[in-house]
């Protein structure tokens, strides 16, 4: 089970506006993106996050897994997240 770390100097607003204080870069996340980001920050595991999405949203587990992996790769690409 891989866990992820989000650096302390990243801020996110209620509406999903994300700011990297280190570089000044800004991003926007949609509702699910914001929820996943907050769950990672609160130390939830990958499995817990997937279960939470499948519980709340009209989606099957396989698709949720696939999209989660894709989202994580994007966060890594932008240096928003590292593997623990």
């Amino acid at each position: 089970m891989v866990n992820f770390i989000i650096p302390e100097n990243i801020a996110i607003s209620e509406s999903g506006f994300l700011f990297l204080a280190g570089t000044g870069e800004t991003f926007t996340l949609n509702q699910i993106g914001k929820e996943i980001f907050n769950l990672i920050r609160s130390k939830s595991s990958e499995e817990e996050i997937i279960n939470s999405i499948v519980n709340d949203y009209d989606i099957d587990k396989a698709t949720a897994h696939k999209d989660f992996a894709d989202f994580i790769s994007q966060l890594k690409h932008y240096s928003i997240l590292k593997e623990a």
Partner: protein, 451 residues
């Protein structure tokens, strides 16, 4: 009933500072769920995907609108439907019902128009490739033959003299209208006197009747002024013909080339902000035409061969998402089931593309690829689209011109084409191809047959 929230895959979008512009037309997040009030999902269910859809209502509106605009500026106007732009019988028939002649550029198109019930005298035969047999047929049918070069002119003279025929002819004239490149590969040049030479040669032949003058200055013309210059130069030629030979021409054919609402690749502003309106084209052409020394019933008819501007926005291509991918750069890639083999125009247009179902408001810069296992199969390099899932549909707009004539069978088959009729019913107007369609044309030498 499920109380769960609607799912949209997680999206993160980076803000790019300094790249915004005040002219942007916004992302394609607005869903296009129906075409002429027929649901996209229903069309796909019944006719498959990809699927070309033509709108009869839009075709007729376009044609009637163009006729009104030109007739309020010039008394005698006649449209001729440009077959090469879209020669599906159903499309041609709509334009013919609206009063258009047929404008063809090959024997194949000529025969297609005849089979549709168009009289030879209502066919304009253009283009550089007219075989002796095709010319013979057209002369006997009293078609309007627009001569492209001297070899063709002498072929017609020889045919008429050897078979005692009379031909109605016009010449295609090319000229400098201030737009480059010059389309001087077609017809006779105005400035160097070649056009006048051709006219004199025609006038010296009793078997030929000079009925008109024709030009076609280019395609996707973004300036109306070029048409005023062209009409003015043809008016000047017509005046010289009247003065030297005392001949009144039946018509001046200004060709086509009006731009449609598609934005060209590499064009900064959206097309709707920079292309001339139909009114501006009409103003320019009529003001050039009125330089003729003629009034009232002596004025020749104005023929227009407008294709793209009359058909492009009546055509749609419905396509289905096959897969979502992430490229090595982190960029989103979407693979759809419509490739460049059926949408040639994506090589030069940034087509408007919308999701066919309601989506979230977040959009991602994506590349849109077709299904062909070929690197060139790129429908759009960059487009802002919301998250679309495998199996969902996109609607590509303004594909009525050239897509259904320049398409090719390559790797996949060409799909169904339907027309949404004015009464809301849907008619299949071209069946999708099947393996037999290809195999019927192939022959396998018996020594190559596999056991």
């Amino acid at each position: 009933m499920s109380t769960k929230k609607r799912y949209e895959r997680p999206i993160i979008t980076k803000y790019q500072s300094g790249l915004m512009n005040k002219f942007g037309s916004g992302p394609s997040a607005k869903a296009k769920t129906s075409i002429d009030e027929v649901a996209v999902s229903k069309l796909v269910e019944e006719y498959g995907s990809p699927l070309f859809v033509m709108s009869e209502r839009q075709l007729r509106n376009n044609q009637q609108n163009a006729i009104r605009i030109f007739r309020t500026r010039y008394p005698k106007v006649q449209f001729a439907w440009s077959y090469k732009t879209n020669y599906l019988n159903a499309v041609c028939s709509v334009f013919h019902q609206e009063g258009s002649l047929a404008e063809v550029v090959s024997e194949f198109e000529y025969d297609k128009a005849k089979l549709l019930g168009i009289k030879g005298s209502n066919i304009i035969f253009n283009g550089p490739d007219k075989s002796r047999a095709a010319l013979q047929k057209a002369i006997k049918d009293n078609a309007k033959i627009h001569i492209d070069h001297f070899d063709e002119l002498y072929e017609i003279i020889d045919l008429c003299n050897s078979e005692n025929l009379k031909a109605n002819v016009a010449i295609r004239v090319n000229m400098d209208v201030g737009v480059y490149p010059l389309w001087d590969r077609f017809g006779f040049n105005y400035e160097n006197g070649e056009a006048w030479q051709a006219i004199k040669r025609i006038m010296s032949e009793k078997s030929l009747k000079l009925t008109g003058l024709h030009t076609h200055i280019g395609t996707y013309m973004m300036t109306a002024e070029a048409y005023r210059i062209a009409a003015s130069k043809l008016a000047s030629l017509a005046n010289s013909i009247k003065r030297e030979f005392d001949i009144k021409l039946d018509y001046i054919d200004m060709g086509g080339g009006f731009a449609s609402n598609n934005t060209l690749i590499g064009q900064y502003l959206p097309a709707e902000q920079i292309i001339p309106s139909m009114e501006q084209y009409a103003d320019a052409i009529s003001s050039g035409m009125f330089e003729m020394n003629a009034t009232g019933s002596d004025l020749p008819a104005l023929i227009l061969e407008t294709g793209r501007a009359l058909v492009d926005n009546a055509g749609y291509l419905i396509t289905t998402v096959l897969a979502n991918k992430r490229l090595s750069t982190g960029r989103r890639a979407i693979i759809i089931d419509a490739g460049v083999n059926i949408l040639f125009t994506s090589f030069w247009y940034k087509h408007k593309i919308s999701p066919a179902q309601e989506s979230g408001v977040h959009v991602e810069d994506s590349s849109l690829y077709g299904p062909l296992c070929m690197n060139i199969d790129l429908i759009r390099e960059s487009i802002l689209l919301p998250a679309v899932k495998k199996g969902e549909h996109l609607v590509i707009e303004d594909v009525g011109a050239y897509a259904m004539t320049q398409w090719m069978q390559f790797i996949t088959m060409r799909p169904n084409v339907v027309m949404i009729m004015q009464d809301g019913t849907v008619e299949l107007i071209r069946k999708s191809e099947a393996l037999n369609y290809i195999l019927d044309r192939e022959l396998l030498p018996k020594q190559l047959k596999l056991k």
